[in-house]
């Protein structure tokens, strides 16, 4: 296991620059109280599509693949999540089943928070809530560009500047 990881988020050196992790000290302490750090070996699943959303997962280290599947079992990769991202947010906040399957692409360290604890934590820490809204917006952006690349068969490019 890499030595850079600490049991407490306050001592974590990876924290800066990560939108969700870089919380004010007091919120971070509260977050420490509700999270449990878990190790997921390569190819193990954090959650599966359609399961009841009972928590969110903050990636500390390692990359996680998010994929969708059809009834017949065909699979489509939605995105590869990097460290610092929070998975299962939308499902946990809206109380709907997980919309995708998350699998570790390499050995990953993940901080898990139960749904009930997260909702209470967000109620008490407005700063964290704003960040969650930011993260959800970012997720939505990537999902839309995936819609674009899948539906129109090409990556979205920025429109060329108009010449008059």
């Amino acid at each position: 296991m890499a030595s850079v990881l600490e049991a407490s988020c306050r001592e974590c050196v990876l924290r800066s620059g990560r939108l969700f992790c870089d919380l004010p000290a007091e919120a971070l302490e509260a977050f420490d109280g509700i999270k449990t750090v878990a190790l997921f070996p390569r190819a193990s699943a954090l959650f599966r599509e359609g399961n009841v959303a009972n928590g969110v997962f903050v990636i500390c280290q390692g990359r996680i693949k998010l994929s969708l599947s059809s009834e017949s079992g065909k699979r489509l990769t939605l995105k590869i999540a990097e460290p610092g991202e929070v998975l299962g947010l939308s499902a946990a906040l809206s109380g709907t089943p997980y919309e995708a399957t998350a699998e570790a692409l390499e050995d990953a360290t993940v901080a898990c928070v139960k749904r009930r604890d997260l909702v209470r934590f967000l109620r008490d820490h407005r700063e964290a809530y704003l960040r969650v809204v930011h993260l959800l917006s970012g997720d939505l952006h990537t999902a839309y560009s995936r819609v674009c690349s899948v539906g129109l068969g090409r990556r979205r490019r920025l429109p060329a500047p108009r010449i008059h």
């Binding site: 065909k74 699979r75 809204v133 917006s137 952006h141």
Partner: protein, 240 residues
């Protein structure tokens, strides 16, 4: 009284009767008053463009009445309709929050009432009212689920017929028609627009409809479509 575009404009959110049914609008009194102070009630005719994909975010648009088409455009001009937004939905939300360009184009398909809020005002409003944050998170989650659903149906379907069958089943499960043996649905979109929803051409949609009619799967009565054979549609939707 002369009404703009035949719309009965609700000027104040405080006295709005539709508020209880709309997820975002159902805010506590103090937040609602603050929202009232920063919003502009506006009316648009059919076919008006609220914002265009790639534009810098000006703010959010709360849809009060009417429907809005949300689409993505490729560089070669092909269009994909991501969603038809219904009243109560907030448009341009994720772009306004993150400051990134609008990711979709929003165009009205009915005369619409839209409440506009400037981006700076909206961000300040979010900071001051955590209840509103909660509503925004809820809206974003729902949009995310919808986008995932869209990726799944576009990316994992084999044929256009399969996608059209799925779309018809989805529409027929709304409006309380789900339990009926022969659900009827009002086709509010043109074949061109349906094609853009499932990522195919107008010609293919017309051909598929003709085929469905010939096989007695659906029957058209004016602009109303009656699904005669729901089981056949279901088989088509899962035939991959």
């Amino acid at each position: 009284m002369l009404l703009p575009y035949g719309l009965d404009i609700v000027e104040s959110c405080l006295t709005c009767k539709m508020r209880a049914e709309h997820i975002f609008c159902d805010l506590p009194a103090s937040a609602l008053q603050a929202f009232e102070n920063i919003k502009y009630a506006t009316a648009y005719p059919k076919g008006a463009v609220l914002f265009v994909e790639g534009q810098a975010p000006r703010g959010i648009f709360v849809l009060c009445k009417g429907r809005v088409k949300l689409s993505i455009c490729a560089t070669d001009g092909k269009t994909l309709i991501v969603k038809i937004a219904e009243p109560g939905e907030v448009l341009g939300l994720s772009a306004s929050v993150s400051g990134k360009p609008y990711e979709l184009t929003a165009e009205t398909i009915d005369p619409c009432q839209v409440n506009f809020v400037k981006r700076e005002d909206f961000l300040r409003f979010l900071k001051d009212h955590s209840d509103a944050c909660f509503k925004v998170a809820e809206q974003l989650s729902e949009k995310y689920n919808n986008a995932c659903h869209e990726v799944r149906s576009l990316g994992l379907s084999h044929s256009a017929g399969e996608k059209l069958a799925k779309l018809l089943l989805e529409w027929s499960s709304k409006n309380g028609e789900a339990t009926k043996q022969e659900p009827r649905l009002k086709l509010a979109l043109t074949h061109e627009e349906i094609a853009q929803m499932i990522g195919t051409s107008r010609e293919t949609v017309t051909r598929l409809f003709a085929d469905f009619k010939k096989r007695q799967i659906v029957q058209a009565k004016g602009s109303t479509l009656v699904i005669r054979n729901k089981a056949a549609l279901k088989i088509m939707a899962t035939s991959s």
